[in-house]
């Protein structure tokens, strides 16, 4: 099973894929395993396992606080692979989303090796642009991992094309200019960005930043291949596993209520 299969399966069902994010180690290492399993059982086609980082410049208050809590509870990078393995063992599909410094520190090749060994399918790198990614390109090739880079409403056509060429699996389109966090409405910049991306590539496009409800998921599913939900799952995890399951179910219904984009 690869990321391509995840999106192919969703397309075959004429819907977008649902992608849920939760930091490993939040609210605890075992708690994050439980919630991720619930997310998959309740309709997430793919989960992004976050690596808590001390300086999360792309994240709003919700994910910042979750990362801080995980780290102060003693979260270690080795726990990440354990969490990824638990998702894979349960039959789920996982990628890792991480700031770059912990990967650098671990060793880019070693990180890729251990992620692949844990059953992870790839990595999303919010503060690594392809221009600086030579080591990651090599390591991901060597260990058979997919690379998800980000594009933003401010990206030029040249950069969208370049970033799409460097990516595999799916491309992450940030719906708005800003940091992570649930928002009330889907930004108008999102469909425009996805349309621009499609001029350059046929790679699946996931849209994230600010999605929190089934209705928003349905709206995004109307123009994107994947709907990415982060902060809302973190907030739900703070309430308990029931809230996580309910949110995943609502979102899963959302991605099925709109015709797929492609």
């Amino acid at each position: 099973m690869s990321l391509a299969d995840v999106f192919a399966t969703a397309r075959a069902e004429s819907r977008a894929a649902l992608i849920g994010y939760l930091p490993a180690g939040y609210p605890s290492v075992s708690g994050s395993k439980d919630h991720l399993r619930s997310m998959i059982e309740s309709g997430c086609d793919l989960v992004e396992v976050g690596l808590p980082f001390s300086d999360p410049v792309m994240d709003g208050p919700t994910i910042q606080a979750a990362a801080e809590q995980a780290l102060s509870a003693g979260f270690r990078v080795r726990d990440l692979f354990d969490v990824v393995a638990s998702v894979a063992d349960a039959g789920g599909r996982a990628v890792v989303m991480t700031y770059w410094n912990p990967v650098l520190r671990y060793g880019v090749d070693a990180f890729a090796r251990d992620l692949a060994a844990a059953g992870g399918l790839g990595m999303i790198t919010p503060d690594l642009v392809p221009d600086e990614a030579d080591d990651w390109m090599a390591a991901s090739e060597a260990h058979g991992l997919d690379r998800t880079f980000l594009v933003a409403p401010s990206s030029t056509e040249e950069r969208i094309a370049m970033t799409a060429r460097a990516s595999s699996g799916f491309l992450y389109a940030t719906a708005v200019m800003g940091v992570t966090g649930a928002r009330d409405v889907v930004a108008s910049t999102a469909p425009e960005l996805v349309a621009r991306v499609r001029e350059h590539t046929s790679i699946p496009v996931g849209v994230g930043l600010g999605v929190r409800s089934g209705a928003q998921a349905a709206e995004i599913a109307g123009f994107a291949d994947g709907v990415i939900v982060g902060s809302a799952f973190v907030s739900a995890a703070a309430e308990g596993d029931g809230a996580v399951r309910a949110l995943a179910a609502d979102l899963a219904k959302g991605v099925r209520s709109a015709p797929a984009a492609v």
Partner: protein, 406 residues
């Protein structure tokens, strides 16, 4: 050589100094740093920009700053010492050079809003000042811990019309203020320039911040030749992010016989783990948009820096310093809080100059370096700022309110 003349020490087109620097930022910010780099490339060769910058340095900031011999302080160093008096600039530190340059660039780019981070408050005050002068909206992010230990500077910024936002996340110091400024920037990048205060961050910041501060070294070199008749044996500067140091170093970087010495905050001592000596004991990593030495644990989590000086309390450092260390062109060591405070008191008493605690680290470095040079030696110390802002710390440290003596 002019302040903006390209040098053989410039980074490559993507901002790399050897393996250091580059751009480790979200894609959403790439367009903004590209725009900034393109604007700076045009501005640095545009006589109108260069002349306006020079005019502001002269008529507003009060440059050139003096080079003052410090003979009585020098008795304690065992060698001849000159001080480059950045403390005499308007707003009280070297920071004004960079903010005037970047504020002019902001106007050129047609942006109306400026955000900045600040540690000690010097860069925040300088930014608020430049924004008041040039009619720009100004928001300054400052760690909550720093707003408490630098309350006077918070008041100054507010008086100058800036909004000061205390940052409550993470360690609530400079690094977290930078995180918050980056979050603001990625959200408001269309109309906002991030006026970064040190020679770190993604390309082109390390290049342009350095160039705006090159005036320090260019002046110092001319002045020391005039006053001492020769080049110094060493140029000494404190290094937090490293902007004052890189500015003065560049005046002498091609003078192979002049040692370039950076002094880092040793806090409670390197063994204590409570310090900010990034170049002395840090390891390679990416923080705030560039590869540099950083202070981190074995998982790559950035660790908190500790220093009595809020302006040096930073777990990263500019990429060019990382490069200068690696190629051996500059050398770096740390002095403790206690050594810095001793130098702070010594300069005040012997020369009638109250230095910033940041700059006191450079002075303490000179006291360590001096004896090896001997009476015929010659040091230029960058006195990067004045100590008025640090009086609360000094009052507490020396017990001055209770009749104590430094």
């Amino acid at each position: 050589m002019g302040q903006f003349t390209p040098t053989p020490h410039d980074p490559d087109a993507r901002g790399h100094f050897g393996p250091w620097g580059g751009r480790f930022v979200p894609e959403a910010l790439i367009a903004a740093v590209d725009e900034l780099a393109a604007e700076y490339d045009k501005a640095r060769i545009d006589p109108e920009f260069v002349n306006e910058f020079k005019r502001l340095l002269k008529d507003f900031a009060g440059r050139p700053s003096l080079l003052t011999e410090a003979p009585k302080f020098a008795e304690h160093a065992g060698t001849r010492v000159f001080l480059k008096r950045e403390d005499l600039n308007h707003t009280g530190s070297h920071k004004i050079n960079n903010v005037l340059g970047q504020a002019l660039l902001t106007k050129r780019m047609g942006k109306k809003r400026v955000i900045a981070e600040t540690g000690a408050g010097q860069h925040g005050v300088a930014t608020a000042t430049a924004c008041a002068l040039l009619g720009l909206d100004c928001v300054v992010y400052m760690g909550e811990v720093d707003t408490e230990r630098q309350a006077l500077n918070v008041a100054r910024m507010r008086l100058l019309g800036a909004e000061v936002i205390p940052v409550k996340s993470g360690s609530r110091t400079l690094k977290d203020a930078i995180n918050e400024a980056l979050r603001d920037w990625v959200t408001n990048v269309d109309d906002t320039h991030y006026l970064l205060g040190t020679a770190a961050g993604p390309h082109p910041f390390p290049l342009l911040v350095r160039d705006f501060h090159r005036v320090i070294g260019i002046e110092a070199r001319e002045q020391i030749l005039e006053k001492a008749g020769r080049l110094p044996d060493a140029v000494v500067a404190c290094v937090g992010g490293g902007s004052n140091a890189i500015g003065i170093f560049h005046g002498f970087i091609d003078d192979a016989d002049v040692r370039l010495v950076g002094v880092e905050p040793g806090g409670s001592g390197l063994d204590s783990g409570r310090h900010g000596a990034t170049l002395t004991v840090g390891t390679p990593g990416s923080l705030h948009g560039a590869m540099s030495y950083v202070m981190q644990d074995e998982d790559g989590q950035i660790t908190e820096a500790h220093s009595i000086s809020a302006g040096l309390d930073y777990p990263g450092v500019g990429p060019e310093h990382s490069h200068l260390k690696d190629i051996g062109r500059a050398e770096y060591f740390a002095v403790t809080d206690a050594e810095a405070m001793e130098a702070f008191a010594l300069l005040s008493r012997t020369e009638g100059i109250i230095p910033a605690i940041e700059s006191s680290h450079a002075l303490a470095g000179a006291l360590k370096l001096g004896p090896s040079l001997g009476p015929d030696g010659l040091l230029v110390v960058n006195l990067s700022g004045r100590g008025d802002k640090d009086m609360d710390t000094a009052v507490e440290y020396f017990g001055l309110a209770d009749g104590g003596q430094a």
